[in-house]
Amino acid sequence: MIQKIATRDAYGQALVKLGRENPNVVVLDADLSKSTKTAGFAKEFPERFFQMGIAEADMTSTAAGLATCGKIPFISTFACFATGRNFDQLRVSIAYPHLNVKIAATHAGITVGEDGASHQSIEDVALMRVIPGMIVLSPADAADAEAAVFAAAAVEGPVYLRFGREPMPVIFPPERKLIIGKADRLKEGTEATIAATGVMTAVALEAAEILASRGRMVRVLNFSTIKPIDGEAIVAAARETGAIVTAEEHSIIGGLGSAVAEVVVKHYPVPMEFVGVQDRFGQSGKPAELMKEYGLTAEDIVAAVERAIARKR
């Protein structure tokens, strides 16, 4: 059994590495540094860490000011607060002037678990995707998370990074390089494509195994970048496999499913199914219980693939 690591832990470790390489990196946190894992950076670089208290709006605009002076601020809190409490600040202070701020959100999705709906962000990708110029990254495992941190720092302008609370299976090798805007073809197949992101990439691979055992070979695409979306990979998947199922730990409205559908509808319409949270709020429970309740299991993906294939002409 390979050791599972949460992407938030990988984020915290990557920040320290990045901080050693780049003296312009500064980190701001809103009283959650132990949970968001920015505490490691704070310990090693106390003068470059700014505790902002429970004040997400202020944290966001302060980061904008720091960025105008050449700093590369990473701001961290839970995904629901990192995109919801400060949406206007992200929009006007950061994205409108295209400032070099990275919004590193942890505890995304319903796998937050017991904290319940107030803390389960299923809207954050939709909110970030709609802001002009915002890059949206959603890594699938620890190596991908570290690669996302370095990729975000290497690009000028605002980047949203979505990390989870729960330990995740290993998908990528430790030397993983994330190329912004490129999807990864993790499994080859011709009957349908599963397009997945974040936590759901591992689940999609599991679903593909189940399907393979039944003689159905499906392609699995991982989208570590949700915006800009890899249109070429999507069109190729539509053309070559004829059906697409998206899988995300997010509302089916406005997230990866919408991004993929926008490409498919315009360039190569094929049947699509959407695995994700169906316009509902979350609730308290164990992550596995919630994944089942909200239709985010491998079996749910398998069923969606069968529906999509059945709709092919």
Partner: protein
């Protein structure tokens, strides 16, 4: 400040008021009241105090000014034009399609604009960020920010007020344009928005009160702010909304209404610029 220096600043302020009237009349929309109330504050900062190079707006060691009350863009644009950041003739393109002078400040379009603002309450936080960067980089530039009195109804201002104190941002000086009027009426009536002096003081700021139209008083206050160590300074500037144009003074209706051509002519005549 000598009489001669004060007279030069007064004349500069008069020209800036003229630009504000002309550019708003040309645009046909915009915010005269809160632009005119802040003319002396910006004139003092840009022509008596701040260190900057209009030929090199991104000079890292420059002092910074953030217009948190972004709707007063006309006073900032008129001041920046007078300071040489762009030609005065550009001012009458205000709010037009393709202009570098957007309805609210856009730091990517206008040389000299330090922060994009317009959604109220965000500028103090941004100014804090610039001040924090200055401390981190051991630079001696100073950061100035202008807040509206209605604007401090935004909660983020008080988050930022705590931040500035927590990080001992003595390289930051804020001004409150205390003209007592906001769009829907007197600020005290709109939201029990009273005693900013006591409130900022209780948050731990060094707070001063001045006549916001008196250059000598502004200079004394900014000198004191600069000499105050270990905490940020808030200069509560008592001002008159619409200052300098008799029919606009203290009239809530002139918050966001541009003068018609004949009104602009009357205003310019009052300013001795017709």
């Amino acid at each position: 400040m000598t009489d001669q220096e004060r007279a030069a600043l007064t004349d500069r302020a008069r020209r800036i008021r003229g630009h504000i009237i002309k550019m708003l009349a040309a645009a046909g929309s915009g915010h005269p009241g809160g632009s005119l109330s802040a003319v002396e504050i910006l004139t003092f900062l840009y022509f008596r105090r701040m260190r900057y190079d209009p030929k090199n707006p991104q000079w890292p060691d420059r002092d910074r000014f953030v217009l948190s009350k972004g709707h007063a863009a006309p006073v900032l644009y008129a001041t920046l034009a007078e300071a040489g950041f762009f030609p005065v003739e550009t001012l009458t393109t205000l709010r037009r399609f393709g202009s570098i002078l957007q309805g609210h400040p856009d730091m990517k379009k206008t040389p000299g604009v330090e922060m994009s603002t317009g959604s109220l309450g965000q500028g103090l936080s941004a100014a804090n960020g610039m001040a924090l960067a200055g401390k981190l980089d051991k630079k001696d530039y100073r950061v100035y920010v202008l807040l509206g009195d209605g604007e401090i109804e935004e909660g983020q201002i008080w988050e930022a007020a705590m931040t500035a104190v927590h990080y001992k941002l003595d390289n930051l000086t804020a001004f409150l344009d205390y003209n007592h009027l906001q769009i829907d009426g007197r600020i005290e009536e709109v939201k029990s928005n009273t005693d900013p002096v006591g409130r900022f003081r209780s948050f731990g700021w060094h707070v001063l009160e001045v006549d916001g139209h008196d250059f000598a008083a502004l200079e004394r206050a900014v000198d004191e702010a600069q000499a105050t160590k270990g905490k940020p300074t808030m200069i509560v500037a008592h001002t008159v909304k619409g200052k300098g144009v008799s029919f606009m003074e203290n009239q809530v209706g002139w918050h966001g209404t541009a003068p018609k051509p004949e009104e602009a002519q009357k205003a310019l005549a009052e300013l001795g610029l017709a």
